[in-house]
């Protein structure tokens, strides 16, 4: 865990309300693993007050990338930062994805919904470096919500896209697409990040097919490094169920560990 208060934005790309920032932060980059995240300070003033968490989208030597969607005030202000500005960030935080070893020749699947695609690029590259063959399932509401399509393709990942409105790829939820494809083959692992509802459905699928699966959870975070107890989710570990800090023990958990809550709305 490092505090880098001078992580310079060295590149910025955007697609509608999705943004990709490349940050120069050699010390964080050198320690980062797929599934870990950083906490970004949005303002030097007490408004907005708290840092915001973002997955590490990729790393390249001295740099890390974050990929985010404008979802409220903090991300809106962040999106207005310019190349050359410096960000105050903490990272790498959390434990990240686990299943990255002994994957030689194995087929694995990474399923991302919306901004949840962010950590899966880093993961896919890490998995591949461990010998796995990675299929990416990438869903969004509409074509404009799957802006990283080309990025995955150009890296040679096998890509399965879906849009809710059918504007590109499979028409429907990505979980439905996955379900259909799972009739055809069985991966040795599934990794996923996205809306909770999507992940819950994927967890059900994985369970039925007895495929080990890992999920990257989201939560409102007060600190990101385990001191406020703000970010808990219901987790079962070593037979015991309780409120577990996802910033410290997660944000990635296996399907057996997560106690999915029922849709509330």
């Amino acid at each position: 865990m490092i505090k880098d208060s001078q992580a310079r934005i060295i590149d910025k790309k955007s697609w509608n309300n999705y943004f990709l920032f490349s940050l120069e932060s050699p010390r964080i980059s050198s320690q980062a693993h797929a599934g870990q995240f950083i906490m970004v300070r949005i303002s030097q003033h007490p408004y907005p007050l708290l840092r915001r968490p973002f997955s590490i989208h990729s790393k390249h030597e001295k740099n890390i990338e974050i990929f985010f969607q404008v979802s409220g005030l903090g991300t809106d202000l962040l999106s207005q930062k310019k190349v050359g500005d410096s960000l105050d960030i903490l990272g790498p935080l959390g434990k990240g994805f686990h299943g990255g070893e002994n994957l030689n020749r194995k087929e694995v699947i990474a399923v991302g919904g919306g901004r949840g695609i962010a950590p899966l690029y880093f993961l896919a590259k890490e998995l591949r470096s461990h010998g796995a063959s990675v299929k990416i399932f990438y869903g969004g509401k509409s074509l404009k919500d799957i802006p990283l399509k080309e990025k995955f393709e150009s890296e040679g990942f096998e890509l399965y896209c879906s849009t809710d409105d059918g504007s590109f790829g499979f028409k429907g939820f990505i979980s439905e697409y996955l379900k259909a494809e799972l009739e055809k083959f069985t991966p040795s692992r599934i990794f996923s990040c996205g809306p909770e509802e999507m992940m819950r459905k994927i967890a059900q699928l994985a369970k039925k097919k007895k495929i080990p699966a890992e999920f990257s959870l989201e939560s409102i975070m007060g600190c990101g490094f385990g001191v406020c107890w703000g970010c808990v989710k219901r987790i079962k570990k070593n037979g015991e169920e309780g409120w577990v800090k996802i910033c410290e023990e997660g944000p990635v958990f296996s399907s057996e560990e997560i106690i999915w809550t029922e849709e509330e709305k």
């Binding site: 865990m1 490092i2 505090k3 300070r41 007490p46 408004y47 907005p48 007050l49 708290l50 840092r51 105050d88 903490l90 939560s219 409102i220 975070m221 007060g222 600190c223 490094f225 385990g226 001191v227 406020c228 107890w229 703000g230 970010c231 808990v232 989710k233 219901r234 309780g242 409120w243 509330e264 709305k265």
Partner: protein, 304 residues
């Protein structure tokens, strides 16, 4: 050489900056970021006798310059604390203050009784003011009698100095302060969080399942500072001020108003280096202004 040390009577602090309960974990989590030995003190996360599950999430919601939390004092209980955490904390040379909680007076007393056998604790901070444990925000510090009752019982069972942490959710905080003083507390700390509600207008429900939470952060500073002002003129024991401190300037305001030390809370979440930066800022201020001993500015607020 600037002397930042503060004498609270029962305990001497390296400097007036203490990390506040619930925003500093058990202290150790900050080791990667700062040298804990630099702090005036550390108040550990609220501790009940038994482990506590805490409230269901979401537990946090941000407001304008503020944070509303309903963590609900999730914690490990005295046994695990003594066995696993305290031994590590002991290695640091800073005042370790344990934030003591209880569902009834007796639980507070038994926490203190249990911890009294352990070494390496400088004082207890009696948390009788957490607004997000009981659903309606009720806590002993809302009433002078319940305050007196719990403070005097705990004092009887403790061999260590006692700091009583007051609630801001009262009409007359000085009245509660006097009651705690009468019951034998060695010092007061104020304030705990302000009882708050956040509503999700889309879902038409409270954002926090606990309904109420406690407001902290810069938003509350003017209110907390006012309460310190009201209390210091009425009590004889030292007052530790807190609420919305994020800079050395904030600390100066509290000290000038009459607090003998301060606690820094929410700022730790935003910047894990906050406490140390504030301490450096105090040194710088003293040097610039020719102040040898920071104690000399305590309570120097002029009548307007």
């Amino acid at each position: 050489m600037t002397d930042l040390s503060i004498d609270l009577g029962f305990i001497k602090l390296k400097n007036p900056v203490i990390a506040s309960s619930g925003t500093f974990g058990y202290g150790l989590e900050f080791d990667p970021f700062i040298d804990l030995n630099k702090l005036g003190g550390i108040v550990t996360k609220g501790l009940y006798f038994s482990p506590r599950p805490g409230n269901p999430p979401p537990r946090l919601v941000e407001s304008s310059s503020g944070l509303i939390n309903a963590v609900g004092l999730q914690g490990v209980g005295v046994k695990k604390f003594s066995e696993e955490i305290l031994p590590q904390l002991r290695q640091y040379s800073t005042a370790i203050i344990v934030n003591v909680c209880g569902e009834r007076d007796e639980e507070y007393a038994s926490v203190v009784e249990f911890l009294d056998k352990e070494e390496g604790i400088s004082a207890y901070e009696l948390n009788i003011s957490c607004p997000n444990v009981e659903k309606d925000g009720v806590c002993p510090a809302l009433d002078p009698e319940t305050t007196f009752s719990v403070v005097s019982l705990v004092k009887k069972n403790s061999s260590r100095p006692l700091i009583t942490k007051l609630s801001p959710n009262v009409t007359d905080i000085a009245e509660i302060a006097l009651s705690a003083q009468e019951a034998g507390t060695d010092a007061l700390s104020l304030v705990n969080t302000f009882l708050a509600l956040a509503v999700d207008s889309e879902a038409r429900k409270p954002v926090l399942p606990n309904v109420f939470g406690g407001l902290s952060g810069p938003a509350i500073k003017p209110l907390a500072l006012r309460m310190v002002y009201q209390v210091v003129s009425r009590v004889k024991i030292p007052v530790i001020g807190m609420g919305g401190i994020i800079s050395a300037k904030d600390v100066l305001e509290y000290l000038i108003t009459g607090a003998r030390a301060v606690e820094v809370g929410t700022a730790n979440l935003i910047d894990p280096e906050a406490t140390v930066k504030i301490i450096d800022g105090l040194t710088e201020y003293c040097q610039k202004n020719g102040i040898d001993k920071i104690e000399s500015i305590i309570g120097t607020l002029k009548k307007s």
